[in-house]
Amino acid sequence: MKGQHSKKAIISATGNLRKAINAQADKGIAPLVSQKTIITQSDESSHTSRQEKIIKLKEAVTLTQEYTNEIISELNVINEEVTITRDYADAIIQTVRGPLLVLNKDLRIISANEAFYNAFKVAPNDTENRLLYDLGNRQWNIPKLRILLEEILPEKNTIEDFVVEHDFKDIGQKTMLLNAQTLQQGPDKTSLILLAIEDITEKKRSSMYTRSLIEASLDPLVTISPDGKITDVNEATIKVSGIVRQQLIGTDFSNYFTEPDKASEGYQQVFKKGFVTDYPLTIRHADGKRLTDVLYNASVYKDDKGNVLGIFAAARDITQRKQLEQQKDEFIAIASHELKTPVTSIKGYTQVLQNRFKKEGNIKAVELLARMDGQLSKLTSLIADLLDATKIEGGKLQFHEGYFDFNELVIDIVGEMQQTTTKHTLIKKLAPTKTVYGDRDRIGQVITNFISNAIKYSPHTKKIVTTTLEDKDSVTLSVQDFGVGIPKEKQAMVFDRFFRVSGLKEDTFAGLGLGLYIAGEIVKRHSGRIWVESDGEKGSTFCFSLPIKKGIRKNQTNTLVEEEIKHE
């Protein structure tokens, strides 16, 4: 606003100046003519007295003096106006934060701003009226700059965003972004060149720094535009896709995955939510063979006004992790398989001994062996859990489906479980239920797991209630204990692999943290639902419901053969 104001003032000042000059001319010519007349007259008329001549001359002199004064004062006005104009131009130049030069057509510097002096370490005295190239001991005699100013600018009147690099003796290597404009100034249309020199050395360095950070990442990184096109990639992306940068940029991000739909769903999710974490995808290499399992972490990036510009997505290659996990699962599978044989053998010997002592009537020995057998059963079920967990991971958990009486199964298992505890009373509250379709043994495994957990996590209370309910579409079983309970924030995790509830200080609970994970998987595969209810203090209730008449989801590899591991 202020600038516009002073501009108007200057325009009107310039107008006045012109008027002043014209007026001067009008006034100036007349007196000169009359003066000449006076002189001529004085030469020709001899009778005019000397006195008169003197008076007239004096008058003329006074008049001249007056005009001269007037001219001088007008000239002062002009000077003032010129100064105002200059000050105005200077003000503009000074207010520009980037280095700026005003050159005349001979490339001499008319003025420069503070930013220029600071950026290029030159003093005003060594700058004004100097030839640009002569600045700082001719350090500015830069060939590319000469070409720009002497060849390109005169032709086009403008230079936009030209990058010039130069190694200055005093200030070192600089990268400059040049913008220039030729202007015709004043009544005589004097050519001026406005030259803006932005020092982008730091910017370039930091962008190189950013770039090298991006390139240093072993994770494939990519930026995606809102319409799903790739806008930038790093070397890791090029490597993993087998496609060069130029051919990646501008193409659909989802093109490079085994599941393009899932990939585009992924980036749409980012635009919707602002981010995604650990989004699994598989990158397909151009050779068609190599596949890389990755987890994508991505978020949107915005301009300073908050408009979404695109997505920055980083892929973590988890191929190796998956391989390791697979190796681990295979190892556990082999280990638990190998453990089974000796345990079977020990269990067998125990039972043989039990029978023999029973015949002899050695009740004490029979009792001890029964306890030993009980411990062996625990060991057996731990091994079974390990094996089941690895099967779930490998998608090899198998089911043998059929119809079975749900309540009958519950009664069987509650009966069996009552045998394992003298502390607890297992109460049944069973509503009449229909037959259920599924794997009886596996569902039994879930119920066993619920009840054994209830026993384990309620060491100081006696009652455990098993309830069945049936509605139109499903049967529900719940096992309620009155023990330690599960805090709300941990309830969602209890069905995770390796999760274990930590009890009060005095209660530490043993276990692999696999039971509920397996139970969860079994129920899910039966298209059922599994959940826990607990207020975190007075025990917990574990529940599952199964749809009546719905088979097992065949969504996993349904290998009939669970490869028996060969004995050596």
Partner: protein
């Protein structure tokens, strides 16, 4: 009535030994072998029932089972396969086995199954 003979074909001595004890205690005559070929070659003194490990060194229990079930002389003999896994049930059925015993098994369960198949075969 003479004792029934049960053949145990397994190459794990721990299993063979304990099975032998269990079966002898239960009143059976027991023959054992860890060689798949021996099982295939039985001609005389045919056992009343065979407990066959699904994997024996160098032999696939399934092949042995199929072979025995294809021979006139032996196809009537009940074969119970022993596996480390219950999921092998399908394999056992496919091979023509009469039943499957998964490790770790209970003695009582083993004896019940054996009795059942011997009775069926009478």
């Amino acid at each position: 009535m003479s004792k029934k003979t049960i053949m145990i074909a397994d190459n794990d001595p721990g299993i063979v030994d304990v099975l032998t004890l269990m079966l002898e205690d239960a009143g059976y005559e027991v023959e054992t072998t860890d060689d798949g070929q021996t099982v295939k070659d039985i001609e005389e003194h045919l056992p009343d029932l065979i407990l066959l490990d699904i994997w024996m060194a160098g032999f696939d229990g399934r092949d042995i089972c199929k072979y025995l079930k294809s021979q006139k002389l032996t196809k009537h003999i009940p074969i119970i396969m022993i596996s480390a896994n219950k999921d092998a049930e399908e394999i056992a059925k496919e091979a023509g086995a009469d039943d499957l015993l998964a490790k770790p098994f209970e003695m009582s369960n083993l004896l019940t199954i054996i009795e059942k198949h011997l009775k069926q075969n009478e």
